[in-house]
């Protein structure tokens, strides 16, 4: 694994396309009795290599937005373009494949598989479906996040910060265009948070966009831009 492979996204698609584009995205939850507008005509454009924080109070639509960006949920109306590609009206399998190829996820609770070692967790997104499992790249990524000595440790043998760094390595295994982070520092102390945020901003230098949803003011110190959501609208 060499530097050119790590340089990921920047090469192939036309440079003019943003990494991600939301166009008047609306998400309405209709639970019979009441209708909740979680996202109200949201427009958002994230450039390649940009580090964006999405902040806002609880119930402002942050999680919905992250789910829509992550192709985990479909908007009621409006369009989501990732890497210049429209993502509407796709089968579940197509969306799953797009998530695998274009997106990386980092969660507050890390969500590593407890039965797998660090290196197996990082390799996990590559072992299913076509293509060869990328164990070499997994080892490489773990070395990059400073866990080269803990490849065969299981999650319970790792600290919270280490687990989150394993999760970041897992998110990067398929060379995504965008890394989506949901409260990435939510369960970490300040020192560890800084290490993780250093890691995330390091990624942006290789052309990967990072979008973090957070309550943590510390995150904004590392980001290029902060988007504030309030009642489903961007302020």
């Amino acid at each position: 694994m060499d530097a050119t492979e790590r340089a990921t996204a920047a090469d192939d698609p036309p440079a003019s396309d943003p990494a991600l584009e939301l166009d008047t995205v609306r998400k309405v939850y209709d639970s019979g009795a009441e209708t909740v507008v979680a996202l109200d005509d949201v427009d958002l454009r994230v450039e390649r290599g940009e580090f964006v924080t999405i902040m806002g109070p609880s119930g402002s639509g942050k999680s919905t937005m992250l789910n829509v960006l992550g192709l985990l949920d479909e908007p009621t109306s409006g369009t989501v373009r990732i890497d210049g590609r429209l993502t509407g009206d796709l089968s579940d399998d197509r969306r799953t494949t797009m998530r695998k190829e274009l997106l990386g996820f980092v969660f507050q609770d890390f969500y590593l598989l407890p039965t797998l070692t660090a290196v197996e967790n990082v390799t996990l997104p590559t072992i299913f479906g076509d293509g060869t499992p990328r164990r070499g790249r997994a080892i490489d990524l773990l070395e990059r996040v400073g866990l080269g000595g803990r490849l065969d440790h299981t999650p319970t043998e790792l600290s919270g910060g280490q687990q989150q760094r394993v999760a970041i390595a897992r998110a990067l295994i398929n060379e995504p265009r965008i890394l989506l982070a949901d409260e990435p520092t939510g369960n970490l102390d300040r020192d560890t948070s800084e290490q993780v945020l250093d890691e995330l901003s390091g990624i942006t230098e290789q052309g990967v966009s990072v979008i973090a949803v957070t309550h943590d003011e510390l995150v904004t110190e590392y980001t290029d831009r902060t988007v504030e959501l309030f009642d489903g609208r961007i302020r």
């Binding site: 579940d92 969500y111 039965t115 996990l124 479906g129």
Partner: protein, 381 residues
Amino acid sequence: MLAGWELVVKSPALFVARRNLSRNRFRSVLAGLGILIAVVAIAALGIFGNVLSLGAADALGDIGNEVVITPNADEGFDELTERQVQSIERVTDDVTVAPIRTETGLVTRGTESRATTLYGIDDPAAIYEADEGRLPDRHTQGAILGSSVAEQLDAGEGNVVTIDDTTYRVIAVLEPVESFGPLTADDAVLLPENAIAGSGYEQVILRGEETGATAVAADAARAELNAREERIDVFELSEITDEIDEFFSLLQSFLLGIGSISLVIAGVSILNVMLMSTVERREEIGVMRAVGVKKGEVLRMMLIEAGLLGLLGAVGGVLVSVLLAAGLYLTTPVELWILLDPANFFYLALAFAFGIGVSLLSGAYPAWKAASERPVDALRD
């Protein structure tokens, strides 16, 4: 570790499934144990029933091939005449017709004596086997002793016995009869036909190589002799064996039914384990889906988990069943050929297949449930 890595490349679903089962080893073993017990229940009960049935068939011997014709006493006939026997011989094919005269008499050797049934029979070799000496094709002289008569009188081939004032040399001793038959001769003495008073016969035995032939012969004899009057009673022993066979097939179904109940219970326990597993791993499966694992791959993974539990239990169950069968062989007089009957292997295979089938069936719903949950729902707190 290398083997593990090869498995990842070949079948990632199997790899992850196996790791998941080892996570809660105790629970996995318990679920496998349920299948194991069910497989043992089906295999062992199936084999047990089959062994019983074969053992009984063996003990019943050839009686299914025998028909006993007796005069119809209700209508006042007390013997079958020479002519009637000849008509029976004329109308039947492929069976041996053995007319028998019967009387009781006192057999004496030295100081020992006992009352026995005397059979006057022309061709004893058609029905009986000798333990000592040789059975003549035409019985013209000498006495043939049933095994217990011989034992009681301590008589063997070449000895002399007195029967109702006539002296006979013993020309043969019959084999003890282990199976149930129409003319159990253990307590009888066979004499030449003309040694017994009378001109008719008390019974005629038809014996054929196949049950079908004797049944045909029985019908022919009935049609010939009972055309105008009910002169004879025809007793087909195959009726008894048919009923015994029916009983055993009922017993077999009953035993398999019991086995199946345990299989259903084992299936429910696998269903339970898999459902618990999907609930516990809801978020993990959500994450797998989020990072690009497709529905079908999650489904396959969960099915493999259930299938592995089933395989574990079924292999163990077959091993235990084989051990039980070996134990049966060592501790009871069951003969080896009965245990090696193909039907027993069929029950083993059946139990094995059902064990795995039920596991997959029980795993199907949890697997489908896990695979079709939207990751966004699974990851929402």
